[in-house]
């Protein structure tokens, strides 16, 4: 469907480097890329660095524990007051309590808002935006949603603490960091999953939960057709029983903990191989083998090519990437360099329709804006249907045109663009056009922009043009 509907405009290599691989041209990037587009983009793969004062997942866990303790105390106090009939004390304390609870709830919400907005702003202002696109890709690959008070606080810490440090390193390290991170363990309910024959299960009457194990295989590594069975799901779930999160206030410290008493004793048989390790090593070995499995290489390389290149990546490109992956044991930087080196990645017509996030980032880059209101940025993404950390499913947001190019979604995009253009009425659309798209533009779009009835309309038409909506 998308192939025949693409505009046939030929896009230049520099445009591809900047707009398809990066998050869109800002300032004079298009001119910089002109000389040697391939090496320009290859040199833009840098580690991403988070600066600024944002809470660590440990702080979130501590705040949450305080909140729960306070809630418990208040409940007790309330019932005591009602027993003694002390109504005055009761109402005074009630307002004090509400205030305290509100503060904790605000702590989580602020953490989420500030961190999600910070990532967006860095992507908008960065001079190596391809690296931020790569971060967003893996953040969506290991998607967590901010559901419930604790996850609201934790969701945005995962990409900072577990993904960014390994962005250009080995996939195995990223995988392990993610599956041991409190956000993922709590999101997919592994923190309370205990082996049916463990001491903890008997004492607490708790048992196994397959959720994380299943999604590790289906989404994070092998892919749904990666050749595993229901038994494998259960075996992996057992292998990672006891992978949990400390409860501040009730035990010393915070963050990931291995609860040996909750681990299912005995050997595991997983994907046809025997695992006779004891304790945490057993699950780690399973994750190591999953990371090294050729099905994982296939699954992740396909997703990368599908995201960075086109809807149906050519087999020859996938082969090159998979070979590099297997040769380097899943080195992400090597795989990305291989993608940039492949001619198949440089198809000279538009291949992808921008997701709302890509569209908003590239628009603000094209306008070379440097200052934003966090709230406005985030409400834009909410209205366009891609609120950060709110995919609502561990599969993350879709990367397909058909999921974003709906009638209602397009109308919302037009409405937002009209609004943005009305805020930037002094902007010269012609300049923005040459800076962001260059000469890869159809006569029709060029004429429409140049002959628009107002500057505002010219900018709206440019940003909503097929050339800007696609990459």
């Amino acid at each position: 469907m998308s192939e025949n509907s693409m505009s046939s405009t030929i896009i230049s290599k520099a445009n591809i480097a900047v707009n398809r691989f990066g998050y869109g041209a800002s300032d004079n990037e298009l001119a910089q890329a002109e000389k040697d587009p391939k090496n320009w983009i290859k040199a833009k793969l840098h580690p991403v660095a988070f600066t600024g004062d944002f809470p660590h997942s440990n702080n979130v866990l501590i705040e949450h524990a305080k909140y729960q303790k306070e809630k418990k105390r208040q409940k007790k106090q309330k019932s005591m007051n009602s027993q003694t009939g002390n109504m005055q004390a009761s109402s005074m304390q009630a307002s004090d309590m509400q205030l305290k609870n509100k503060m904790t709830i605000n702590f989580s919400r602020l953490a989420l808002r500030n961190m999600s907005a910070d990532t967006l702003k860095q992507a908008i202002t960065s001079s190596n935006s391809v690296s931020w696109r790569l971060l967003d890709f893996f953040s969506n690959h290991f998607s967590v949603s901010a559901n419930g008070q604790l996850m609201v606080g934790l969701a945005a810490t995962l990409e900072r603490e577990a993904i960014a440090p390994h962005l250009l390193g080995n996939f195995e390290d990223m995988l392990l960091a993610v599956e041991q991170h409190p956000a993922m363990l709590i999101y997919l309910n592994n923190e309370k999953s205990f082996g049916p024959n463990s001491r903890m299960a008997k004492k607490l009457k708790k048992g196994l939960n397959e959720n994380l194990a299943r999604e590790i295989m289906e989404l994070h590594t092998l892919g749904v057709d990666g050749g595993y069975s229901q038994e494998d799901v259960i075996e992996l779930a057992k292998g990672i029983t006891g992978w949990s999160v400390k409860r501040p206030g009730k035990e010393y410290g915070e963050g990931f903990v291995f609860r040996a008493y909750g681990h299912e004793p005995g050997n595991r048989k997983f994907l046809g191989k025997k695992y006779n390790q004891k304790g945490i090593v057993q699950g780690k070995q399973m994750l190591h083998d999953l990371a090294m499995n050729p099905a994982t290489a296939k699954h992740v390389c396909y997703k990368l090519a599908h995201h960075f290149v086109c809807q149906k990546p050519p087999v020859s490109l996938l082969k090159k990437m998979e070979t590099t992956w297997l040769k380097t044991q899943g080195n992400i930087k090597a795989v990305m360099l291989c993608l940039f080196d492949a001619d198949e990645a440089w198809l000279n017509s538009a291949q992808k329709y921008k997701t709302p996030r890509e569209f908003v980032i590239s628009t603000l880059r094209a306008l070379s804006l440097k200052k934003f209101k966090d709230k406005a940025l985030l409400s834009t993404l909410i209205n366009l249907g891609q609120q950060p950390f709110n995919a609502g499913s561990p599969a993350g947001y879709s990367d397909d045109e058909q999921d974003w190019l709906g009638a209602s979604a397009l109308m919302a995009r037009i409405d937002w663009t009209t609004m943005i253009s009305s805020y930037n009425k002094r902007v010269n659309a012609e300049k923005v056009m040459s800076r962001s798209i260059g000469n890869s533009i159809s006569q029709l779009t060029y004429n429409s922009v140049m002959r628009a009835e107002s500057r505002q309309q010219a900018l709206t038409l440019l940003l909503m043009s097929p050339e800007f909506q696609r990459r």
Binding site: S5, V224, Q402, G406, S408, M411, A412, L461
Partner: protein, 401 residues
């Protein structure tokens, strides 16, 4: 297959269907030149308006636990498999026939059952053999023996009968892909752009088919709902409001013949008791709004409620249930011959479970949906093959005669 009833409308008369086709063509043409308001195009059909049989397809994404929704209180195994969940109900279960009972949050649905307009079907499955949400949903939406991401069963059904559909969604779900008679609508709280921008964009999109198609259907729907006047925008996206708007878009002369709604949040791996108390109540209230909004049309309506698969028969270690197989289907509406349970109960003993783990499906969801299509929309067996190429419809009497 034998049609047990004739619905009181003239849709199968040649003159009427001709005028309907003509009307759709005219509507499309008027959109292409962006003539506003839309009402002039619709006025052509106004003197012949007879309300047509309507279908609402509601997909519960995330795998509803049917055993916690239609509870088999008579089955000895139930309490053994679910010691915690079986005692998590806050108020008494609502009795159905043969010892089945509805979850106490489903008050309105229970009333429908008593009014003979609700038909719960137990132990169904789409035939999807694995336990991935995403593939499971795609399979149920696609309705073919292999997942086809570009074609859905409801889209194929409206193509055969030349009906118009609406997806209450930001973009078209698989169920409604591959038909040109589908629109999407979803509330937005952005200020609408000016009309002249739309005209300019329509011109700009002349070489980009998909952008142009989305723009044109977006404009069509915006003209109908009039979201500008909607003051309650803060609550946008809540199921209850979506159901209300959905009803609005289905009634009146311009109302669509069928609509699709989605509701997520059913993946209850933990804390299922509490979560389903509120989730099922949200579902129940939304459906009540849908019925209220449909007004007289309710008598002409069939609502089909399905989910991608069921959940484990046994509760898990965290007060929830994991991905399973057999689940339930609800067929509801004023046109339904309800007040009874459909489907065969397979039992919950170890050897009766699928892979000794999940509720064993005894019938196929598409068989029931096919049955609805044949009785409600007069599909012949031949026509149904275009919708469900691999599943034959059942022939129980599901609708009122």
């Amino acid at each position: 297959m034998k049609n047990t009833k004739t619905i009181n409308n003239s849709n199968d008369l040649p003159t009427s269907s001709l005028s309907r086709r003509k009307f759709i063509t005219l509507t499309g043409a008027s959109l292409a030149v962006l003539s506003f308001p839309m009402s002039s195009a619709f006025a052509l059909s106004s003197n012949k308006q007879v309300s047509s049989p309507k279908i609402v397809w509601l997909l519960l994404r995330g795998a509803l636990d049917s055993l916690h929704t239609i509870v088999p209180t008579f089955d000895q195994q139930y309490k053994t498999l679910r010691p915690k969940l079986s005692s998590s109900f806050k108020s008494p279960l609502l009795p159905l026939e043969n010892g089945f009972a509805l979850h106490p949050s489903l008050k309105n649905l229970h009333q429908w059952y008593q009014d003979n307009s609700l038909l719960p079907v137990v132990a169904v499955s789409s035939g999807y053999p694995k336990r991935s949400h995403f593939d499971g949903q795609d399979y149920l939406e696609s309705g073919k023996s292999e997942i086809d991401h570009d074609s859905g069963w409801l889209a194929r059904a409206i193509e055969v009968k030349n009906k118009r559909a609406l997806a209450v969604s930001r973009s078209t779900p698989i169920s409604l892909r591959s038909s040109s008679q589908v629109n999407t609508w979803y509330p937005s709280n952005l200020k609408d752009a000016d009309d002249d921008i739309y005209a300019a964009l329509d011109k700009l999109y002349q070489n980009d088919e998909s952008l142009r198609a989305s723009l044109e259907s977006g404009l069509e729907v915006r003209g109908l709902v009039g979201d500008k006047k909607d003051k309650k925008k803060k609550r946008q996206g809540k199921f209850i409001d979506l159901a209300k708007s959905c009803a609005k878009l289905m009634v009146g002369e311009q109302g669509v013949d069928c609509a699709m709604l989605e509701l997520g949040g059913w993946d209850t791996h933990n804390n299922q008791g509490t979560r389903l108390n509120s989730k099922l109540s949200e579902l129940d209230q939304g459906l009540a709004e849908l019925k209220a909004g449909l007004g007289k049309e309710w008598q002409n309506t069939v609502v089909i409620i399905g989910t991608e698969f069921g959940r484990t028969a046994k509760e898990n270690g965290t007060g929830g249930t994991d991905h399973g197989t057999g689940s339930a289907l609800f067929i509801a509406g004023g046109a339904v011959n309800g007040g009874m349970i459909q489907g065969d109960w397979p039992g919950l003993k170890d050897e009766q479970l699928f892979q000794q783990r999940d509720l064993m499906p005894t019938t196929n969801s598409f068989g029931w949906i096919g049955n609805v299509l044949s009785q409600h929309w007069q599909f012949t067996e031949q026509e149904l093959l275009q919708v469900f190429p691999h599943v034959k419809p059942y022939n129980q009497v599901l609708l009122r005669s």
